[in-house]
């Protein structure tokens, strides 16, 4: 099985002296669905931020798609980010662009030819079930719909890897469940999925691999895990 993500003895200390991660090692294989769990401040977001190179590690090494990105210069970050999709708790949609424009945006900035942009954007919106809301502005959409737009944006370049940081954090239980099902469906199509969450319910129902962080360390890495440790 090809390894998509590998962290080797990664330590991340912030300039203010806070240690976000201490000697974390983990790897994720192609096609896996992984829940990253743990209380706020455990280091879940930092792991994701290292993978899409919003941060670089203090010690240790980070590989994405077989490539060493440990000391990747900031100007090479855009190219890396185009090879993966990221979804956030607060959706991060451009408020003055329609759903269609928000998704198309991810293609425009990578120089996709204009003839290709329209069909691919519509296909991505179709995949998340929002083809009929393409012309709506973010404020005209519900939270769940906004998150679907942001997932469509993350997927429109058909990246092999999707990262989600608390994707259900701002959503009610029912909508959260719909979003997780959507992510699960996308994973079944072959996209490797790493989801940071503290939504106990979805973790327990899906029974996927669970990596638990506490105080910046990996305290559990279990296949078919539950939110709470069984040990």
């Amino acid at each position: 099985m090809r390894i998509v993500i590998r962290l080797q003895g990664v330590t991340k200390r912030h300039p203010n002296g806070l240690t976000a991660l201490a000697d974390v090692s983990l790897s994720v294989a192609e096609g896996e669905f992984v829940f990253l769990i743990g209380p706020t401040g455990a280091g879940k977001s930092t792991v994701l931020r290292l993978i899409y190179r919003a941060e670089t590690p203090t010690n240790g090494r980070v590989f994405v798609g077989g490539r060493d990105i440990t000391r990747l210069p900031a100007r090479a970050a855009p190219a890396l980010r185009r090879s993966l999709g990221v979804v956030f708790q607060d959706f991060k949609l451009l408020p003055r662009k329609t759903a269609f424009e928000n998704v198309a945006f991810a293609l425009q900035v990578t120089g996709t030819s204009p003839e290709e942009i329209r069909p691919r954007t519509l296909a991505a919106l179709e995949l998340v079930g929002l083809a009929d809301r393409a012309e709506a502005l973010p404020w005209q959409l519900s939270g769940g719909e906004q998150q679907r737009v942001s997932i469509a944006r993350a997927l429109v370049r058909r990246p092999p890897l999707l990262l989600a940081d608390e994707p259900t954090g701002n959503l009610d239980p029912r909508t959260s469940w719909e979003i997780i099902q959507l992510l699960s469906r996308i994973n079944l199509r072959g996209t490797t999925m790493v989801v940071a969450t503290h939504n106990k319910l979805v973790v327990d129902i899906l029974r996927k691999r669970v990596i638990e962080l506490a105080g910046g360390r990996v305290v559990r890495d279990e296949d078919y895990g539950l939110y709470a440790s069984q040990a």
Binding site: V86, L94, F105, A106, R153
Partner: protein, 293 residues
Amino acid sequence: MRAAAGYGAGEAWTAFRRNGLMSLAAVLTIMVTLLLVGAATAVAANLRLLASILEGRVEVVAYLRDGLAPAEVQRTAAAARALPGVRAVTVVGRDEALGRLQDALGERVSLRDLIQTNPLPDSLEIAVSNPARAHEVAAAVAEMEAVEDVTSGGQVLDRLLAATWLLRGGGAAAAALLAGVALIIIMNTIRLTILGRRQEVEIMQLVGAGGWYLRAPFILEGALQGLLATLLAGALLVPGYLVVRDRVGALLPFLPLLDPAALLPALVGAMAAAGVLVGMSGSSLALRRFLHI
């Protein structure tokens, strides 16, 4: 690069429309500063014209001794012409000098009736290439054997030079100072419009926008703001100059003023170039310094 430019131009225009109020504030700020700089430049250009006209009148006159042979006069004129800093030398014979004096006095007084002989000497009118060197030329001419006396305006010349220096230097300094202030104000204004869209830039970076895809929309938006501001400023400055020129011309008819056709096209052109350039560099600087890209 070309795809980025096309995409950037579209984005710039959309952003400009959707950020209405902020864009308007930026354009008006740039317009007012450009207008001030433009007006100061117009005034400075007119002061420079005045200074050069005043300086063009500076002349050294050498009065020659009596009884020189014409050949001697010509030799002295040639020697004066050869001096450094001399632009032209005109020989004024004593008869011509008397004629000029008669012309100056007018018809009421007839010199012929008052004096039988011509008391005036032959003289050389020496035009200098640089008024600041008039004293030097006068001193050199005074050394010549055929020359009896020299005038170069003396104290009047010194005061004139001080005045023209002030006109030139003061005008240029005021324009430069205003341009500097304008630069700071414009860059700060554009910085604010970009800071207001920090979130937008962050999202652009997250979806992998880099290089020109990130910068082009903002830089082109800055250029657009600069250009619009210049058009507005020009629309006020051109009729403004025409009106002021008419008024001043009527009040002080002896004051030389630059022809609008000679001044305005170049001035508005320079303002447009400056507006666009400052708009672009303001955006570029703001992006680099405040968003670290």
